[in-house]
């Protein structure tokens, strides 16, 4: 028994050692986040928003899983329509208390592209910790800003999984042979993803602009209500272009340019992977290779980068904040409400309990 077992263990070990990424095996490479008492302050103070992000994680994960495992486009459209309904009528309405274990939702995708999952996870940790830094009322604004810069430093220590702190060219997202396939084939689900990204970067604004906890709370509730508004008449009511952090969250970008660039790179990569998975021009056997090539390109800080000045202007060239879901500040009653669609805006305190609108059929190309 002992000898057989040792031989088996050795074979298992050798199998693991010799497996290389090129053969479909990745290292786990998980790392704990930076500790501090500020962690979880956002969840504790603003659970209505923090829990939504848990549902957002499900939305991202299930999208990739369906696109990868349902290569037939008609069946994929049907599967995504079901997931959209589940998300907008159930999971977003009653989001999980804690983060969703994405491997459970996207098991095939996680096996295909673990490196991509690691990069997204690490960036999402930065997202969450920056909310926490702002939500911790024990910190002064200056202390929060200092902490956020240090958190960004820490994020960037992992060069193997960090998105760069310089803005990468939009051509990487929009001008590749697989580009824009997903948004054209599935505009409603794409709009939902962009609405997620609008809220994820936009929530920094009320946390910065709010002078008191109650002002911050009201601003966050108004932003969440605006998010629900985007789902009223999809896809017309959704962002029409990818929300850019500098445009949607100018206060945050002014203070933390590096983190803002990281988020835009992250969100571009989200869209790129959707395109690669959805594109028939990328053979199924090549999906992993193409995704990993895109990841490598995004980790490279020397190629296809924009200047910060050009990046700050991108939002204007793309149609401005109105095309990206609208401004986050100014949504509260009594404040100036920018309203790109001229429609009714729900009161913040009722928005979370209102039933989302019925699903429109996905437009097929």
């Amino acid at each position: 028994m002992s000898r057989s077992f040792l031989i088996l263990a050795a074979l298992v070990a050798l199998g693991g050692v010799h497996a290389s990424p090129a053969e479909g095996q990745d290292r786990r490479n998980e790392q704990f986040y930076y500790p501090g008492s500020f962690n979880w302050a956002f969840l504790n103070s603003y659970p209505e928003a923090a829990r939504l992000f848990n549902a957002f994680d499900y939305g991202h994960a299930v999208l990739y899983e369906r696109l990868y495992t349902v290569p037939d486009s008609a069946r994929a459209a049907e599967a995504l329509e079901q997931e959209y309904r589940f998300l907008t009528t159930d999971l977003l309405v009653r989001p999980p208390r804690f983060a969703v274990a994405e491997e459970v939702i996207e098991p095939s995708y996680a096996k295909l592209a673990w490196q991509a999952k690691l990069m997204f996870d690490w960036a999402h940790v930065l997202h969450r910790q920056i909310y926490d830094a702002y939500a911790d009322e024990r910190l002064s604004p200056a202390q929060s800003d200092s902490l956020i810069e240090r958190l960004t430093d820490h994020y960037l220590t992992r060069r193997d999984v960090a998105f760069p702190a310089v803005p990468k060219s939009m051509a990487l997202m929009d001008e590749q042979y697989y580009s824009q396939v997903f948004r054209r084939a599935y505009p409603t689900f794409n709009g939902l993803i962009w609405a997620y990204h609008w809220l994820q970067v936009g929530l920094y604004e009320p946390l910065i602009a709010g002078r008191t906890p109650s002002e911050k709370k009201a601003g966050i509730q108004a932003a969440v209500a605006r998010f629900w508004d985007m789902l009223k008449d999809p896809p017309a009511s959704m962002p029409q272009v990818m929300p850019m952090t500098a445009t949607v969250a100018p206060l945050f970008t002014e203070r933390h340019r590096r983190a803002a660039a990281i988020y835009d790179n992250l969100h571009m990569m989200h869209d790129i992977i959707s395109d690669i998975l959805a594109a028939d021009t990328v053979p199924r056997a090549q999906k992993r290779q193409v995704i990993y090539a895109a990841l490598a390109e995004f980790r490279d800080t020397t190629r296809n980068v924009m200047t910060f000045d050009d990046w700050m202007m991108m939002g204007h060239h793309m149609g401005g904040v109105e095309a990206m879901g609208g401004p986050v500040l100014g949504l509260l009653p009594g404040s100036k409400p920018p309203d790109p669609h001229g429609g009714h805006r729900p009161r913040p305190d009722t928005a979370l309990t209102r039933a989302p609108p019925p699903l429109s059929p996905e437009h097929r190309p």
Binding site: L8, A13, V17, G24, R28, N29, E30, Y58, V104, I105
Partner: protein, 271 residues
């Protein structure tokens, strides 16, 4: 030999359970640690730079009437990428024929190395080494060494874990708890309930304590629940599946908490 009541031991164990306050941890209800609550564990290590502190209580009643209470304090640390090290300090009390012995049941050190995350072909694979030093009144007579191979494979919300271990050192008087068996193997199947942050797990294990011992086959069920962002609660029950060998029943419950120390991380922010 010291005589104490089971109630005192239980009170000590419960007070230990209440002691830790989570500092900062991650959401790790899916990290299946050995004995938390099943013997079979998953093939993934603690994250790099993470500490995981576990405070369990366990009770086991043997067919012979012997009762064993134990609290096996454990600390693991993600020392290297894809590897963790740790130690266990088992406090145990045995009660038999009205007499209770209690004390430290050896000290265990362990290291786990994970070769790969699960891919399209291979499951996640790891090797683990354990060493038990005979410290304490219930700690046995000899230092013992063992190695274990671990594999984890997932299918959506379900995962299958296979563990197999063999002791490399000769049979000797063993520690009362956390002894290294001659060999054992086990399989566990778990299912994740992601909205509730709950993991349900069931297992079957078999093994021999020493070469001449009867084959022991046990079954177990357990649950892990993300209690707070920083804390996981677990509970489990096990029972022998052969008529004459193994526990009549075994119960366990525990709390685990993960945290990190800034000074040990790269680019320390505590500057």
């Amino acid at each position: 030999m010291r005589r104490v009541t089971d109630g005192v031991v239980l009170a000590l164990a419960l007070s230990a359970l209440a002691a830790p306050r989570a500092v900062v941890a991650q959401i790790d209800y899916r990290n299946l640690d050995d004995d938390r609550p099943t013997r079979v564990e998953d093939a993934y290590p603690v994250e790099r730079f993470a500490f995981e502190f576990l405070v369990p209580y366990a009770f086991e009643r043997e067919r012979s009437g012997t009762a064993i209470h134990a609290s096996i304090l454990e600390l693991a640390y993600g020392l290297l990428p894809n590897a963790h090290v740790g130690f266990k300090a088992p406090l145990a009390a045995t009660r038999q024929a009205g007499m209770t012995d209690w004390g430290l049941s050896g000290l265990k050190a362990f290291a786990l190395y994970n070769f790969n995350t699960e891919g399209a072909l291979l499951p996640a694979l790891s090797l683990r080494a354990d060493a038990v030093v005979p410290v304490g009144s219930l700690g046995g007579d000899e230092t013992q060494l063992a190695v274990k191979a671990l594999a984890t494979r997932s299918w959506g919300r379900a995962r299958l874990h296979l563990n197999g271990a063999v002791r490399l050192t000769p049979d000797a008087a063993a520690a009362v708890v956390e002894a290294l068996e001659r060999w054992w193997a086990g399989a566990a199947l778990d299912r994740t309930f992601f909205r509730q942050s709950v993991l349900l797990v069931g297992e079957v294990t078999m093994g021999r304590a020493i070469a001449a011992a009867a084959l022991e086959v046990n079954g177990g069920l357990g649950l892990r629940w993300q209690w707070r962002p920083t804390t996981v609660f677990d509970v489990g029950i096990a029972r022998r599946l052969k008529r004459n060998v193994g526990p009549d029943y075994a119960l366990t419950l525990g709390i685990s908490s993960a945290f990190a120390i800034a000074a040990l991380m790269p680019n320390d922010l505590g500057r």
